[in-house]
Symmetry: C2
Subunit: 323 residues, 2 copies
Amino acid sequence: MKDTATMYIPTLADMLVAHERIRPHIHRTPVLTSSFLNGLTGAELFFKCENFQKAAAFKVRGASNAVFGLDEAAAAKGVATHSSGNHALSLAYAAGRRGIPCHVVMPRTAPQAKKDAVIGYGGRITECEPSTSSREEVFARIEAETGADFVHPYNDPRVMAGQGTCSKELIEQVPGLDAVIAPIGGGGMVSGTCLTLSHLAPDVRIYAAEPEQADDAARSFRAGHIIADDAPQTVADGLKVPLKELTWHFVQRHVSDILTAGEQEIVDAMRLIWARMKIVMEPSSAVPLAAILKNREVFAGKRVGVIVTGGNVDLDRLPWMNG
Amino acid sequence: MKDTATMYIPTLADMLVAHERIRPHIHRTPVLTSSFLNGLTGAELFFKCENFQKAAAFKVRGASNAVFGLDEAAAAKGVATHSSGNHALSLAYAAGRRGIPCHVVMPRTAPQAKKDAVIGYGGRITECEPSTSSREEVFARIEAETGADFVHPYNDPRVMAGQGTCSKELIEQVPGLDAVIAPIGGGGMVSGTCLTLSHLAPDVRIYAAEPEQADDAARSFRAGHIIADDAPQTVADGLKVPLKELTWHFVQRHVSDILTAGEQEIVDAMRLIWARMKIVMEPSSAVPLAAILKNREVFAGKRVGVIVTGGNVDLDRLPWMNG
């Protein structure tokens, strides 16, 4: 799957080019504040609302950069990925904007709502069995048949450069930040944030926030090498995937700390944001606030950018309604 | 209850003074758009998001104008109202900002969450029995004991001038609107909109949207005089109250039409806004979109401001989860 491409470390120039490239296709999302949450945390929080982004996910930044960076010949063959989450939606959205095919390999057991959303954006779904071997086999076949360009959900320099445009906007919108915190799964958003801030705002400390029940990144960070968990379970379902070599490259160099929060703390933080900020966002996006509330001393008195990564949630099954 | 005060018709100057007066205490709320909803309706919709307002309700505009317009002697005695909805919250918020007492008479049967919210903003609740006679009796006693200034939820020129600041911001934020639509209950927001637009943007058509099951304003509009319903039932619980003489004065002169929508249409529109715009708003605020979807021909091809009036909703009991 094009390992050579994944060895390229994206640069500041790549991120700047990405921002110009994707600008017509994304929202410059607003930054919201809440005096209630400031009071509660003792920090000054600036929420960068990627839940208002196209496809309701920051991942449309990286996906758009990959799609619109293809030359005409490659673009004609389309793009392909395996994902049942926001990356699939985002890649389908971006491919649709360019008018090229987007092939998505998804387990047949994925929720129908997720399949419908991909199809709604014009994606073409090929189902596989819910196993890694089936997914790889089916994906290899699709790739061979179509010649489509594989866009990995995060371990791809084009994707990482695209995600880095989010924190570029954030520091333009909010001067004088002391810190930025984002959720971490595979590390696409966090590595993009590292790429951007290490060059443009090196004094801003970068924190990652992770569910305790999927704390492979935190353990990797302490161990000094990538640790991958086998099928972790968490309400923050966007954060189950492990770091990969490219994202790890940035995480190990530029992240100040990786903070974790428990399941109930994540759900409570999510509900608090809905109730107080009146925005719809997904469980993964609540992990940073949960981590801030659990580590008040780290953030008290600081100006903190909080990346709200997405808003794709099942409105019929909100996590505080379980049981 | 100070009938002389309620006979004064607020003017453009009152609205302009109100905006200067309340500016430090309110948010200039953002305007959001959705390409999906534009596609669905054939109109260009601009959502003025008062769900992001202080106390999550436009009513904080009128309440703040009343509270901060009091002279020192009157202010020292505080303000009072009877309401179990957003007006009570908003008045408590505004009084808290000024550091004066706010007395709220509420039925003892009102949900504890509503009582807690008023108390959270520093309001002082006096409970009455759930009947008009008990409410009037208890309110008269509180007024006599405290000398507090009565601020009616809508039939008060100070409140109406305050609500008019919302559409002033909207036409500053979005040039070239063809129409504005807002929900109508007692008519506070709609009359304020009429006050402002009839002077500052007389070509903008003003529509009101109302639940079919509480369509007293629509029937009043057609009859040419105020019709009040006895205890209507609708999911849009902010819209159950009847027009009064001051709000009627503006509604009958400046509103182009009052459009209605059914209960399921309101719930569907609410869910659509949550799912697509990723904002939390209350059922009353969904009535305009429901009315637009039901009357596409009125709005197709037009630039339409849609006032999202508030975001106070019980996250444990979302209306699409009934049954």
